[in-house]
Amino acid sequence: MGAQRMNTSTNPEVMPASAYLSGNQSRASSGRMLNNALIITRREVRDSLRDWRIMGPIIILTLLFPLLAQFVAGQFSTFLQGFGAEVIGGRTIPFLLMIVGFFPISISLVIALETFVGEKERRSLEPLLSTPLSNTELYVGKTLSAILPPLVASFIGMSIYLFGLFNSVETAWRPPAALVIQIFLLTTVQGLVMITGAVVVSSQTTSTRAANLLASFIIIPITMLIWIESAIMFLAPDAESPNGIGSLWAIIIGMGVVVALLLRVGNSIFNREELLGRTLDKIDIKGFFRGVWSRVLAVDDQGTKASNIFVWYRRSIPLSLRNLGFAVPITTLFFILAVVGGYIFGMIGSYQLRLPEGLSLQDAAQYVDAGLLFTGNAVFEVLMQNWRILALATLFGVFTFGSMAFVLTPTVYFIIGYLASQLLLSGYSPTFLIPALLTHGIIEIPVIIIATAAALKLGAVVTRPPRGKTVGQAWSAAFSDTVKLWLGILLPGLLLAAIIEVYITPAVVAAFLSAP
């Protein structure tokens, strides 16, 4: 044994190192990426299949629960028939189908946490990280391994339930095919949301215990979603439409977008540096805010503190504006599209307001000039209203990877476009909107654009942190920029715009309207 000499010659059949050269250029095609990912998937699935803690619940939920649900559906239908409420019994059928599918898929969360954090905890991740597999291959391989067994189990469970249902004499009601497809799709996207969410959760922890605690951030929203979907199935007016329920399609598409964004976040987070660099589950709120504050005061990326407020405005604020990058032109474009969209929407017959015709705008001027539009502490109210909208846009942006930052603020511009179209259609010139909006809008519009762009950046930065920065570092830097812009530009800008809007704009509009 010991005397035997090893064959140490380099094997020509082994893939040459040059095949791995230069990441992006000669990185394998997506086909090779998937092949490599599937090596991981096969191993992980085999591992899951050998774990009775995973397989036990899956088998029980897959084989027994559909039969139980089918029995319940039959009994419920028979019971409700006695009260002439067949429709309720009928609508319980798709609801139970969704639940039958959801139970096995919920196991995917356990597998994902086990696959990612469990492996970190058992220290078996490092040998895998030492192989030539790319971060994406590892991530895709592991994600697939977490989703496939529960998803297959879920589909089997739902098929058993449907098979029983279609062969049942107790339940006459049959769900439309489109609704069945919707429920299969909902189950799939819900599973994917849980898995991709679990990756994000697991990357932030070093123990299964901590990950399980954090998993409530996934379980609670998904449970609420199931409630909403159930209510929709019972109450939707198009519940029996052959095209499926419209709002469920919207949920499927919305969840699809969330999956895409979470996949992107997961792919950014699932990298060797993050996985091995993070070794402690430590909360350092004080340290975090100290870091944010020092970046707020900094005039450069090295953290040089501004010597006075003039230097801060001259160097620090432009730095943060530059950091917003493409977010500013994207937001501006979105606002322009919102105005145009509002205008086009207003031109559609069924959405037109039909304003009274023949009114004198000159008469209206006296009301404007009399200050009827603003009473009491108007400046404060205008300021608070604008602040609330921008703060909400920022909050939405943070929790939706930036996408919902575009829900609130462009709505105002959509309405402006819509109003302009209605004025035109009723024979009025919408030109008075220009002084009405631009007098204070010269300040307010850039402020809103910057606030929305900052919200977009703050939410979206986690999906693609700059090279060399972790997700946490990138978010913390974007948060510092947001705080700085709020302090330096947004709050003062909003205050100034509110003062102009209350004291100057009405006079300008009145003058414009009363002009011959």
């Binding site: 064959n7 380099t10 190192a17 791995y20 191993r43 078996s124 490092e126 030492s130 192989t131």
Partner: protein, 316 residues
Amino acid sequence: MIEAHELTKDFDGFRAVDTVTLDVPAGSVLAVLGPNGAGKTTTVRMLTSILQPTSGWAKVAGYDVATHPEAVRANVGVLTEQHGLYERMKAIEYLDFFGQVYHLPASVRRQRAYELMERFGLTFALSKQLGEYSKGMKQKLALVRAMLHDPPVLLLDEPTSAMDPQSAKLVRDAIIELQRDKRTFLITTHNLAEAQVLADRIAIIRGGRIIANGRFEELARQFVGEPIVELKVQGELNGLVHDIEDLVQVEESGINWLRYRVAEPSITNPILVRRLVELGVELIALSPTTQTLEDIYLQVVKEDEMNGGAAHEHLH
């Protein structure tokens, strides 16, 4: 084969590795010694392209660790600090899995797995679940995994820890044999005797910095001085120390023995023996005392401590 220039790694204000410079030519073994938390594992992780250096650069098997991470990892075999095996797998499945990851054809995977398992005396356990393996067996299997794709560079973290003496010798023999075949090794270890046997060069790392780096003889000369020879005579010394002080520098002495430091033993010792004969001293023994890597290591660490270099540097 392994080159690193001022390699540095910071973690959240903490400098784990500080301007480490290394050069390990093909076919040689570098032993990296140092206390726990000295930065050995972080250095290995950077050389494996698992962690990105904060500054500095490194090339492994000709590939830059920052720009060609996948090519680097294809060319290194790594034995990690924690062997981290998949306990529900059988050994043959485990090796087959890693063989697939390295794109070894099925026949080559099987052949390499059998060869290496036989080499390390694990053939009997090929179909055993890894959960049933002993600590030493797991360590050997992890080593087999590192060697499976026949890499030109091997980075081994404590390769013989948890092994019985016989298994440890098997591993040492394997390293020596692979070294003869021009494989390059970087070994981190606390086992100084093993490092002395295996290493062509030794680097001592402390507080993230390399505080000593060189061949054993160079380090011995630099840190513990010239070799010491022990002389033992029949009866008492009776002023012998004084009689030979023009030839050698006596370090210490007893009733019938003395130890002296000598720069060129092959020149000085024959002259000394002639002098003893002339003086009528009956010589019992003249033998060099052994300098060990432990002596060097302790001296290096002591000097570094005296220079205040122990504390990890915190960034500002």
